[in-house]
Symmetry: C2
Subunit: 294 residues, 2 copies
């Protein structure tokens, strides 16, 4: 991670930016929180500045006023209706580039945003670099070991999520008994899990006979400073409702929010949650057995 | 197509087997219809024999009694709960092989079924070979031309459906303004389209500003005699509700049920439906512009 002294946190929705704010505050490095209107819950931060996502000029001014040398993006921001944005001047100047990048996919859009802030002179820092305990080493989170069958589904789910990630489709997939039940695109993980819960019962597991695995992994070439996959208690709960037997992530490649609470939820539901050591950038087409090191 | 004289139609759900039965009856080649319990609607056929999907021995007897030399599978059959099947003796003997194939994916399972009937001495014929008007040549179905933007989304959607098809995930994908909105796995096309309709309105089109394309195509190496993709009026209606501007299929690679009704529905909704000339077996990884011949 590049060094920095004063951090501006640009917060979207969900729990991740709250964790990052706490971690940065601990090190006394948090200079300001910019809560994005319509995404972040401003009541969860101490004196946040509230801005719309197209107020780029204003955000840059805010960061400079707070004397920031670095910026961190954390939390959920869905694609806006570009035609309904009310950009300021800098926002307006950036919009054509953002639009062009957006047609190439989410990752291209995120890279364009990173590039914008770097050009303004800020170092862009990943959420996991601030709150480095969010990444986990290889091994179990919780007490339940995956069976060999569950591990086989996990290997295939990681492979599928890698193939679809390489196409910038999404970061998640669900495999049960070798069959790909669902692939995540714009609907997000929670909705994908709800869809699995609604599939015919013959295709999936159940609370009394858990089967199948959710894999989440970064896209093979993604901008890791912005959009690493995240799992939390709600992911475990959704997987449990879908009858799954496990959740697998690459060690060091996905953030776990509230590791102890995740472990408790997994144990209570009877699910294995674990991280595998893998080469995330390995050619996904040849990567048929991504947890081979275990 | 291999020659044959007397056809046994094994019918699953939906409209396709009804079209096939009509076409085969026309040529006076239909010897019997076996309606699969729980899938086919037996009232849509003339004196069907009703069998469970694991009564393989009985089905083979039925086909022999009707003096069939060929068999055609048509219609929707979802994966059964293998543990709840009541197989007859032949079914029991085939079950281990079916289970092993099933863990490799849908296509492997279908190939195993084709292999079983071939080994019993029947020629396996594709639905499209019986009702060959179900396949369409390159060009518009209906009157509405896709715009260049819609064609660009179509090319990407065909590419994505090819990549996911190569992994035996599914046959469909939806792309809007370059962004992959949804990928079809076990939920099926209708549910995928319903999901797109439920995405945030910024991401998709609407009835007054149609955007985005559904592509359906065969998996690059799939068993074409069983599981070619199908579109019909309900597909057009689902795409219309999802705000899409078009549906694209490969010429000769997907079946259109009720071509005139599909054209009318597409014109009424303001959607382009068209078939493109493409090499379906081209390496999907390099096939970034699959409708390049147009």
């Amino acid at each position: 991670m590049a060094g920095f002294e004063r951090l501006g946190l640009i917060a979207g929705g969900g729990d991740l930016p709250v964790y990052v704010a706490e971690a940065a505050q601990g090190g006394d490095r948090l200079a300001c929180v910019i809560a994005l209107k319509g995404f972040a819950d401003p009541t969860r931060y101490d004196s946040p500045i509230i801005r719309g996502i197209a107020q780029l000029g204003q955000v840059v001014k805010d960061l400079r006023l707070a004397d920031c040398d670095a910026v961190c993006f954390a939390g959920i921001v869905t694609r806006p209706d570009f035609s309904a944005l009310k950009p300021d001047l800098k926002g307006m100047a950036f919009l054509p580039q953002a639009l062009a990048a957006a047609t190439r996919g989410d990752d291209a859009l995120l890279r364009a945003i990173v590039g914008f802030f770097e050009k303004e002179g800020f170092t862009v820092i990943g959420a996991n670099d601030i709150a480095d305990e969010l990444l986990v080493p290889p091994g179990l989170i919780g007490a339940i070991e995956p069976s060999p069958g569950v591990r086989a589904d996990a290997a295939k789910a990681l492979h599928i999520a890698g193939v679809t990630g390489a196409e910038d489709i999404g970061q998640g997939a669900v495999v049960c008994d070798g069959l790909v039940l669902a692939v995540e695109a714009q609907e997000g993980t929670d909705q994908m899990l709800a869809r699995v819960a609604g599939l015919p019962s013959e295709l999936r597991g159940s609370a009394i006979n858990r089967k199948g695995v959710l894999a989440k992994r970064p896209k093979p070439d993604q901008e890791r400073r912005i959009d690493l996959p995240v799992i939390g208690v709600s992911t475990v709960e959704g997987a449990a409702r879908a009858g799954l037997a496990g959740i697998v992530i690459p060690a060091g490649g996905a953030m776990v929010l509230g590791r102890e609470a995740v472990a408790r939820a997994a144990d209570a539901a009877g699910l294995a949650v674990w991280a595998v050591d893998m080469d995330e950038r390995a050619d996904v087409a040849d990567d048929r057995n991504p947890d081979r090191k275990h």
